[in-house]
Structures are given as C-alpha cells and as structure tokens.
C-alpha cells in the first residue's frame, strides 16, 4: 500500500509538480480569500470566471496575438469583468443573508459554464502556453521549464499584490474596507468601490491561474471545477481570512496531494480530494481557524 520504487530523482520531480499545482491553487485561493475578507462570501464562480477569461485568451491567440500580447489584454478584461459583476450582481443584495449571495455566485457559475459551452463548445482544446515543455537539469533532476515558469509567474503576481496592499494608499484602503467598513466610511473611503476593486483583483488572479494551467490540462469549460474545490480547501487550510494562509495553504496542499497520490497506492488518483479534505478536517479540529486564520475565542 505504501511506498514502492522510490527514487530521489522522482521524488524531486513529484515535489516540483506539487509546487506547481500548489501555485495554481494558491492563486485561486488568494482570490477567494480577498473576496471573503471583505464580503464574507465564497465566490463559487471564481473558477468559471477564470476559465472564461482563459477562453478569451485562447480566442485572441487564435486571431494571431502572441501569448504575452494577449496576456495584459485579458487581465484588463478580467479586471473589468470582476468589477462589473460586483456592481451588478452583488451590490444590490449586499445586505441579504450570506447564503443568498452564495447562491447568486453559484448561478453565475452555471451561467458562465453554459455560456462557454455555447460560445466555444465543450471539446477539449490545446492551449499554447508561453513556456516550452522541455526540461532543464536542476542539480541532477530534470525539471520542466513550464513548471518553473508557472511557479515564477504565480509567485511574482502574489508578491506584486503583497506590495500593493502593503505600501500603496489604495491597498491600505482596500484592507481597511475589509476589516472595518464603518470606520473606513468615516475616513472617507468609498467602501462599495473598494469591494468592487477586490472583485476585480480576484478576477485577475483567476485569469492568471487559468492561463497558467491551461497548457497543462487542456482547455474546456469544466477545466477549473476541481481546481476551485482544491483552492477552497487550500483557503480553508490557511484560514479563510488570511491571504498568507491562502498562499501557504495552496502550496502545501498541492505538494501533499501530489505526493500522496503518487506514493500511497490506496489513494491513487480517485481518492486524492477526499484524502486531502480528511487531512484538513483533522487540522481544523486541532486549529479551528486554519493555519493562519483567527477564530474569535469564545469560552462557553
């Protein structure tokens, strides 16, 4: 049932693949956390939004644009889309029960999924990523350039965002609006637009995640569904209100799942998600707020 035919080289490769998976989860998990922190809502449409923007990228590339030319265009479209969705669908019901808003995001997910099928059809398609699939030797281990590229882009984006949140006036306002909307208003911050901005940023994160993973798994309307689930799990693992937690959780989850899937025969590929969730459950029993989250201490 356990380890068989173990080599360090393969282990390193599995580790690299796990980190790459984890980078994707981290990006999407961060998107979920950003929205959750300010609105207490899990955006179940995050995956479909990401896939949708990836399809747009595909169409642009089909019309002759190179990947890196299409990339910023898609990011702008994603940002605008995220802002628009918040203003049109979420803003009208901002005082409704959380469950209502969650259902709206579910409806949006279904709508986008169907729309993708209608516009582009459900067949798998090749997505030509920016990184070559050849391997280079890191030490004595052949690692795929694509994996390195994906991790680099994801990490780069996260770092950029961290700098934005930490050092810019707008980033500070966004954080303030998320933790204390009342006081933010009294400080002159337009909290509603901050929320829209958060959705825009989340959409950009999703778009990047989509464009990074599409070369690996083939592009189709259901591409991000399982990934969204893993991202949700990663966000919970890290603590739903902690951006750092989302990133760390994502990478941890990616590595754990890949290694478990490869080295524990019983789990194989069918039980990867249930196994991951079981581990997270155990963790939550010990630390109910996730790794970095804060749970209000209530002694009763």
């Amino acid at each position: 049932m356990l380890l068989y035919a173990f080599t360090w080289t393969e282990f390193a490769q599995q580790l690299a693949a796990g980190i790459r998976e984890g980078a994707i989860y981290a990006g999407l998990a961060l998107a979920l956390v950003i929205i959750y922190r300010s609105t207490r809502v899990i955006n179940f449409a995050q995956g479909e939004m990401a896939t949708f923007t990836t399809f747009i990228a595909w169409s642009l590339m089909n019309h002759g644009l190179s990947f890196w030319t299409a990339f910023p265009v898609v990011l702008v479209i994603a940002f605008a889309g995220g802002v628009a969705i918040e203003r049109v669908l979420i803003r009208p019901v901002e005082n409704a029960p959380v469950l209502t808003i969650v259902i709206i995001t579910l409806g949006l997910a279904l709508l986008l999924n169907g729309l993708m099928s209608v516009i582009w059809g459900g067949a798998n398609r090749q997505f030509n990523g920016p990184f070559s699939t050849r391997t280079i030797d890191v030490g004595s281990v052949p690692i795929s350039v694509q994996d390195i590229g994906i991790v680099a882009v994801s990490v780069g984006l996260v770092v950029l965002l961290a700098l934005f949140f930490r050092f810019t006036k707008l980033g500070l306002a966004l954080r303030a609006a998320a933790v204390n909307p009342e006081s933010s208003r009294l400080a002159g911050i337009r909290v509603g637009w901050m929320l829209a901005l958060g959705w825009g940023i989340a959409a950009v994160l999703g778009a990047v995640a989509g464009m990074m993973i599409a070369p690996v798994v083939f592009l189709d309307p259901n591409m991000m569904q399982t990934i969204l689930l893993y991202a949700f799990a990663a966000a919970v693992l890290g603590g739903l209100d902690s951006p750092i937690g989302a990133v760390v959780g994502g990478i941890l989850l990616g590595v754990t799942i890949t290694l478990l899937g490869r080295y524990v025969g019983f789990i194989g590929s069918t039980l990867k998600l249930p196994a991951a969730l079981l581990l997270i459950l155990v963790l939550l029993l010990v630390r109910p707020g996730g790794l970095f989250g804060r749970v209000a201490v209530r002694r009763v």
Binding site: R175, A176, V179, N180, E182, R185, A187
Partner: protein
C-alpha cells in the same frame, strides 16, 4: 458664523424614533457640548450628522447642505470619532494614522510627526497592531486619526469614557491646540457634564431625542435643574 447647523433633524432605528426634531448650531472655532442621560439621543445626533444613521431634516455645514453618506461627509471636512473609537484593530498604529489622512492630499509623514508630538506614546507603538493598545492609547490614536484629517469640524463621542483623568486632560489639551492651530470646531458628546462644561463654550441638553436646555456653560451651571440632574450638586 456657524460652521454647523441642524434644522429639525429626526432619526430612527427601524421602528424606534431616536431624534424628534433636534436643532442646534456650532460656531466657527467653538467647542460645543451635547449632554444628557443614556439613551437621550446624543450619539444618534452625531451619527445623524456624519450620515452613519439615516436622518430627515437638513444639516448645513460651512454654508452648504451636507450629503447623507459618511464617506461624503468625511471628504467634506468632518471627522467623526465614534463611541468605541472606531480603531482599525488589525492594522498598525501608523496605518491607522495614515488612514486618517485618506481624504486629503497630505504629507503623511509630516502630519504624523505632529500627532506624535502630542501623543509620544503612539510613536513608540507605531508598528504595533492597534487592537493591542490600551483604552487610553486607542483614544489617543482615534484623536490622532482625526488630527491627520485636519477637519473643519470634529464630532467626538464620549472621549472620556473609561479613561484615567490624566489621559482625559491630555486629550482635551490636544483638542484645544487643534482649535487654535487649525480653527477647528468641536461638537462633543459627554456623559461627564462637569468635564464638558469646563471646556465648552456652549452646551445643549438632550432628553429622549429633544433639546430641552441650551445656553453658555455659565448659564447651564447656573440652571438649577441641570445642576441637580447632570452636575450632581
């Protein structure tokens, strides 16, 4: 010249009406107090001005009708320090101060220096999470945030609540300086009527959402029913 005028302002919380037509004014550079027992509507009055609670009736600020949303009133030059101080507990002291100046174009570093001069303890704790500060320090921080905004009008809700007398003195000293330096006007809600009348030029007394007495501090101190009910002698 009035900096703030309330004309028959009403406010309600759901089905409960909290203010039944309150009219008051604050002059340029004046410190005016609002007194009254618990539940009289003092906090609601401030909230109605800043737009935190829905109001009917006009509020005129610096000659113009004030918008009804809190972010707009902040941008118009009113700083509201609410009950509970409204600290951004998860952010650092420095970030809290920075947010105070959000609605202005300001040299944040310079403005912060001014605040630190009044409240040196804030400088010691500038990178600390604001939620870990003591009650007195958080009040200083709240006032510091207001200072960063250099408002024309400061709405201050129960500044002395839960604070040691020394700290309260520091706070009122800072208020006095802000008045003279920036020509700021203050509308302060206080349960400690003696303290309020010692610093205010004029005061209003509220009871169950209505203004029942108004006048200068001397007049109020001479008023027998005010003395008995609120000053304790």
């Amino acid at each position: 010249m009035s900096v703030l005028e309330l004309h028959n302002v009403e406010a309600r919380y759901g089905p409960v009406q909290a203010l039944h037509g309150v009219s008051l004014n604050v002059g340029d550079g004046e410190l005016v107090a609002v007194l009254g027992a618990n539940g009289a509507g003092k906090t609601t009055t401030l909230r109605a001005i800043s737009g935190t609670v829905r109001r009917s009736g006009d509020v005129v600020f610096a000659g113009r009708k004030l918008p009804r949303r809190p972010d707009a009133t902040a941008r118009a030059g009113i700083a509201h320090v609410p009950e509970g101080r409204g600290t951004f507990s998860e952010l650092s002291v420095w970030e809290n101060l920075r947010l105070g100046a959000y609605a202005r174009r300001a040299n944040v570093k310079q403005e912060a220096q001014r605040v630190y001069k009044f409240f040196p303890r804030l400088e010691d704790r500038r990178d600390q999470q604001a939620g870990t500060l003591s009650g007195g320090e958080q009040q200083m921080l709240a006032l510091g945030r207001a200072m960063m905004a250099r408002p024309k009008l400061l709405l201050l809700d129960e500044p002395s609540l839960g604070l040691a007398p020394i700290v309260v003195n520091q706070i009122f000293e800072a208020l006095a300086r802000m008045k003279t330096d920036d020509g700021m006007s203050v509308l302060v809600v206080e349960q400690n009527a003696n303290l309020a009348l010692a610093h205010a030029a004029r005061a209003y007394v509220l009871e169950v959402g209505n203004v029942v007495v108004e006048g200068t501090s001397d007049e109020l101190r001479a008023n027998e029913s005010v003395r008995k009910s609120y000053l304790g002698y």
